[in-house]
């Protein structure tokens, strides 16, 4: 550890100044626009925003989808993480690699595949028509189901990664011990696995939840203007109506949500170390 603090400051400041000037300052200006109505400072923008039924629907839908995606990925994530941890060394690394891989691939490519699967002439509709379950193709694209599936595929890896690392820290013999002592699988899960991996669950859950709230591409491609979420609503308000008050409000909501999630994660990380 060097003691020359000025030198250290000189090395670290350019990065901080760059981010503050060209990133935080413009974003701060944008957030402050929400408090300006006709050039006057007021909260009126927030009231007007809150009473519009469309905004309420979009806000609640975003929360609902975020919650459902987090919940579903937790259920699949536990089953999958438990299976991965049970694998032998080499195949375990391979499977884990395959789970992580999609995270590095362009989300546009990842979401586009769902159009082929869910579209009017897609695989699902072909199967439905082929099996005679319906006479006409059903509409899956541009529904909440499509957005839900797209988000789940996008963010499930984050949950699995968090749960695998939590389960790796689980002592090996606690599960057999609980079994020998007469616990059934449900009890093993609720009384042993869940309490011991809850940090991983909260971490994965927050990543998936905030990821879903702030996703743009998935609702844009799979939901369109029929299934707006907060980010697509923001885009529409600015592009269609030049409405920077709503944009500032949505931006504030999104930042507050991801900021609180980030705080929560930091607290968990601290408690762990």
């Amino acid at each position: 550890m060097f003691q020359n603090n000025r030198e250290g400051l000189a090395l670290a400041l350019p990065a901080a100044i760059f981010t503050a000037l060209f990133f935080l300052l413009p974003v701060g200006f944008l957030l402050s626009e929400a408090f300006k109505v006709d050039g006057m400072w007021s909260m009126q923008g927030y009231f007007d925003f809150a009473i519009k039924p469309l905004n309420q629907t979009v806000f609640l839908r975003t929360l609902k989808l975020g919650f459902l995606v987090a919940l579903t990925s937790a259920i699949i994530g536990y089953a999958c993480a438990f299976s991965i941890v049970n694998l032998e060394g080499k195949s375990r690394g391979r499977v884990f690699g395959l789970v992580v891989l999609p995270l590095m691939i362009s989300p546009v490519a990842r979401t586009y595949a769902w159009i082929v699967i869910l579209g009017r002439t897609g695989i699902v509709n072909d199967a439905i028509l082929g099996l005679g379950l319906s006479d006409t193709p059903i509409r899956i694209l541009f529904t909440e189901t499509a957005v839900f599936l797209g988000l789940l595929q996008l963010f499930l890896p984050l949950m699995i990664i968090s749960l695998v690392s939590a389960m790796e820290n689980l002592p090996k013999d606690v599960i057999p011990a609980a079994r020998v002592l007469g616990a059934n699988w449900l009890q093993v899960f609720t009384k042993v696995i869940l309490p011991l991996t809850k940090d991983g669950l909260v971490m994965g859950g927050t990543l998936v939840f905030t990821g879903s709230l702030t996703a743009y591409i998935t609702p844009a491609i799979l939901g369109g203007s029929k299934v707006l979420m907060l980010e697509t609503l923001l885009y529409q308000r600015v592009n269609v109506a030049n409405d920077f008050v709503s944009a500032g409000i949505i931006a504030t909501i999104l930042i507050i949500m991801s900021f609180s999630a980030n705080l929560l994660l930091k607290r968990i990380a601290k408690a762990r170390s």
């Binding site: 020359n4 603090n5 030198e7 250290g8 400051l9 090395l11 670290a12 350019p14 990065a15 901080a16 760059f18 981010t19 990133f23 935080l24 300052l25 413009p26 974003v27 200006f29 944008l30 699949i76 089953a79 999958c80 991965i84 049970n86 694998l87 499977v95 690699g97 395959l98 789970v99 992580v100 891989l101 999609p102 590095m104 691939i105 362009s106 989300p107 546009v108 490519a109 990842r110 595949a113 159009i115 082929v116 002439t121 595929q153 499930l156 890896p157 699995i160 599960i175 057999p176 702030t214 743009y216 591409i217 491609i221 980010e231 923001l234 600015v238 944009a247 931006a251 930042i255 980030n262």
Partner: protein
């Protein structure tokens, strides 16, 4: 423990859900027909070939490459000294500096793009490309600092202290002792930054203009107009490119340690 077959079934189903869609776009891009269908209408490479002839794809690919390469380099130029200072000095206001540098992670990209458009491009006459470059640099910076810091923390500081005691200048100790030891961390930061920037969409939603579009944005607008399999082909090519990059990085750097 539960049985081997249950384990395999669960993993198989999850991987099908996560990776299956990529095989579908690869195959859909191989179609010979005019429209996207699956299973494909005959087999041909025409849509894969077409990707390379669409001029807007070529231009936007160049812009995306430019942003990913130079944005990451700029982030490293700012980030490596910052990471060094954070791990080796007791800087006044160190926590504040760390928070500022990490802040871009929690700001959704669409907001960044809009803010830069409204307060840098319009009033200060920044070009859209310059604003994009700034945004990408700021977004990659937190990752660069984190990855480089973690490899710096694994390096014992007495090595450079020894070099300084033996008569090396501070800068010399950094370039001759520290840098060679953290180079794989810096390379990992470069790859992570490159991939993050290349795949970044929301920032560029508002930051695009005539002739200035990143590749993902160009793909989004292309698929609004046409429904031919070329976007599938392009998506497949991009996915393969990422797979190759990640595979090489893992093989030569043990990339997953840093992510």
């Amino acid at each position: 423990m539960y049985s081997k077959w249950t384990t395999r079934l669960i993993i198989g189903l999850t991987l099908t859900f996560l990776i299956g869609p990529f095989f579908i776009i690869i195959l859909a891009g191989l179609s010979d027909g005019e429209f996207m269908t699956f299973p494909p209408d005959g087999i041909s490479l025409r849509w894969y070939a077409k990707v390379f002839t669409v001029e807007s794809f070529r231009d936007s690919f160049k812009l995306s490459m430019f942003l990913a390469i130079f944005g990451t380099i700029a982030a490293l130029i700012l980030g490596v000294p910052a990471a060094y200072a954070i791990s080796r000095y007791k800087i006044p206001y160190g926590e504040t500096i760390k928070t500022i540098v990490a802040a871009p992670i929690i700001v959704p990209g669409i907001i960044v793009g809009l803010a830069l458009l409204r307060y840098l491009v319009v009033p200060l006459n920044f070009t859209v490309t310059l604003a994009l470059f700034m945004a990408h640099t700021a977004l990659i910076l937190p990752y660069a600092v984190r990855v480089v810091s973690s490899s710096m923390n694994n390096l014992r500081s007495d090595m450079e202290e020894a070099a300084v005691l033996l008569g090396c200048s501070r800068l010399g100790a950094f370039t001759r002792v520290v840098l060679p030891n953290i180079q794989s961390g810096v390379l990992a930061a470069f790859i992570l930054g490159f991939v993050t920037s290349f795949n970044q969409v929301p920032v560029s939603l508002f930051l695009s203009g005539p002739g200035v579009r990143t590749l993902p944005i160009d793909m989004l607008s292309y698929m609004e107009i046409t429904y031919d399999p070329s976007v599938a082909a392009l998506s497949a090519l991009l996915a393969l490119l990422s797979v190759v990059i990640v595979f090489m990085a893992e093989k030569f750097l043990g990339f997953s340690r840093y992510v």
